[in-house]
Amino acid sequence: MSYLLTLVTFFSIGIILAMSLNLLMGFTGQVSMAHGGFMGIGAYTAAWFAINAEVNMVWAMLLAAAAAALIGWLFALATVRISGDEFILASFALQMVIIEAISRWTDVTRGTYGLSGVPKPELFGEPMRTIEQYAVFTVVVTLICAVVMMRMAGSTFGLVLRGVRESVPSMQALGRNTVRVKILVMVIASAFAGIAGTLQASMVTFIHPDSFTIMLSIIIVAYLLVGGLGNMWGAALGAVLLLSIPELIATSDVIPSNLLGPMERVIYGVVLMAFVWFRPKGIIAERPVLRVGRMLRRGTVTAPTRPGSPASATTPDAPGATR
């Protein structure tokens, strides 16, 4: 039972990571190789405050989200004029900088020794002791995050994000501030990555720079490729599927335990390659936005208020089509 709950916790963390990267990569088209780094910033911030200042992990989570968002904001500001392949390179460099900074800033992060004894959150004045309590907590946090992100994806904001992906000039012509949108989505995605990092830190109670390397960033990208870029349900499905792989090979007993790690990564590599090759859109492909009229009536999408500007919401009528 506790094994199952542990799995549920890790799945939840993976879902937050996949969905938040999806906003950035699937919707806005900004391929980021630094998502694992942002998760690391969150994990370390929360762990530091919880250990050194005895901050409750619930509040530490908000601090972590803020710290990750701050770095995301600075990065987005600096890379406003970078897009496409260059953005991948820049985010790659950022990932390396973050992980090197965490490994070398030994006064705060204890470097390669890692930080141990990260506490579980306290709710209603009681610290959580059992895995049951923590699993419920994680699932609730994940549900909140998922609902927020899915609302974003289905709102005007989500449509604007897709519009930025398809064509920045046409979004600008429709009167949207594309620079602000790009910065905002980076901040949001990093904040959620920070939350995921906090949940992870509390779960495993020990954090180490090696947990947040470029490997993790690539694996999060792989979640999206497997599940479906630009589709929130797909992102969640991809995370769950890929996270089950190590569990399946661990229970199969065929592979000697010292080779489990490498074997697991080989399978990740094979899955990544297979999906790029055979089904680049993922299991659940992105759905075209066909029902803007209904969205308008329901109020999830608002028509532009500025007089004289055309209905911006109808622009990306088939986002998947041009890719």
Partner: protein, 296 residues
């Protein structure tokens, strides 16, 4: 102290340079980020090690075999895999997948620890003008210069080099004027991967290879390629500069910070380049051009 660091930096730069020239040749010709480059480099190092240690081949016979292996793998990857994907992002992710697989297969086959080639004569230390230097480092510098000069000769003085430079400049246009761009790209991959294999052989002889060391070598090759901005001569120069920069960083700061500084420099470079400083500096000239209707 300072001269020592500069010398070390220069030697590091030469080592980065060999790997960077191969990576840059591939990247500039095809514009594809071939992340499996590092893993193939390490695989060639391992192959060389196993040919020499397990099969008992002499060093000079095993080296061409390892290089040929690298070249063939590179060519096959371009011809039968990347050409069909035909998309930069797809190639990037696909090559990441290959890199992960190859790295971990090496881990499973050879274990996680360093494999160092027992090459007695090459690892000896000799004294050059009072400074103790390892033979392998001297060899590395020589190899670096030979690769640099060879590539320069090929690109600037030969027919095939002209074709390669044309593809680097504009692949579609080259196709239209009758250059067989597909073959040029395969050639770039074969040659680039062989140069990468050289870097792998140097690594296994000098300090040994781990499954992950290919990736580490590639990271710096990657930075030098980016800084080189399209010219292989620049890549070689930037590699040396990068080595010196890291040597200098090691003077006031602990050596562990080298990687941090190198990637921070890369990030700053990308950001500064995106700002397009030159266009900000000459607003007057631009306005004059706008008035006359002549575009720059």
């Amino acid at each position: 102290m300072l001269t020592d660091l500069l010398l070390t930096g220069l030697l590091d730069g030469a080592r980065i340079g060999v790997a960077a020239l191969g990576f840059a040749l591939i990247f500039y010709t095809t514009k594809e980020l071939h992340f499996a480059y590092g893993a193939i480099l390490a695989a060639c190092g391992y192959l060389y090690y196993s040919l020499v240690v397990d099969q008992g081949l002499p060093l000079l016979l095993a080296a061409p075999l390892a290089l040929a292996f690298g070249a063939v793998v590179g060519a096959v990857i371009q011809r039968w895999l990347y050409r069909r994907l035909n998309d930069h992002l797809a190639v990037l992710l696909f090559s990441f997948g290959m890199a992960i697989i190859l790295e971990n297969v090496l881990h499973i086959m050879f274990g996680p620890t360093d494999k160092v080639l027992p090459a007695g004569a090459l690892t000896r230390t000799v004294s050059v003008a009072g400074t103790p230097l390892r033979v392998i480092d001297l060899v590395t510098v020589a190899v670096f210069l030979v690769v640099w000069a060879g590539l320069w000769h090929m690109l600037e003085r030969q027919q095939i080099g002209l074709a390669i430079r044309a593809v680097m400049r504009d692949s579609t246009m080259s196709d239209l004027v009758g250059i067989r761009t597909g073959r040029i790209k395969v050639l770039a991959y074969a040659l680039g991967s062989a140069i990468g294999a050289v870097a792998g052989l140097i690594a296994v002889t000098r300090s040994g290879v781990r499954p992950g060391s290919g990736f580490d070598v590639m990271l710096f090759a990657f930075i030098a390629t980016l800084l080189g901005a399209g010219k292989l001569t620049n890549v070689a120069a930037w590699s040396l500069a990068l080595g010196l920069f890291m040597g200098l960083v090691a003077w006031p700061f602990p050596t562990e910070l080298q990687t941090l500084f190198a990637f921070f420099a890369m990030l700053i470079y990308l950001v500064v380049r995106s700002l397009d400083v030159r266009s900000l500096r000459r607003p007057r000239l631009r306005r004059a051009e706008d008035r006359t209707g002549v575009s720059a």
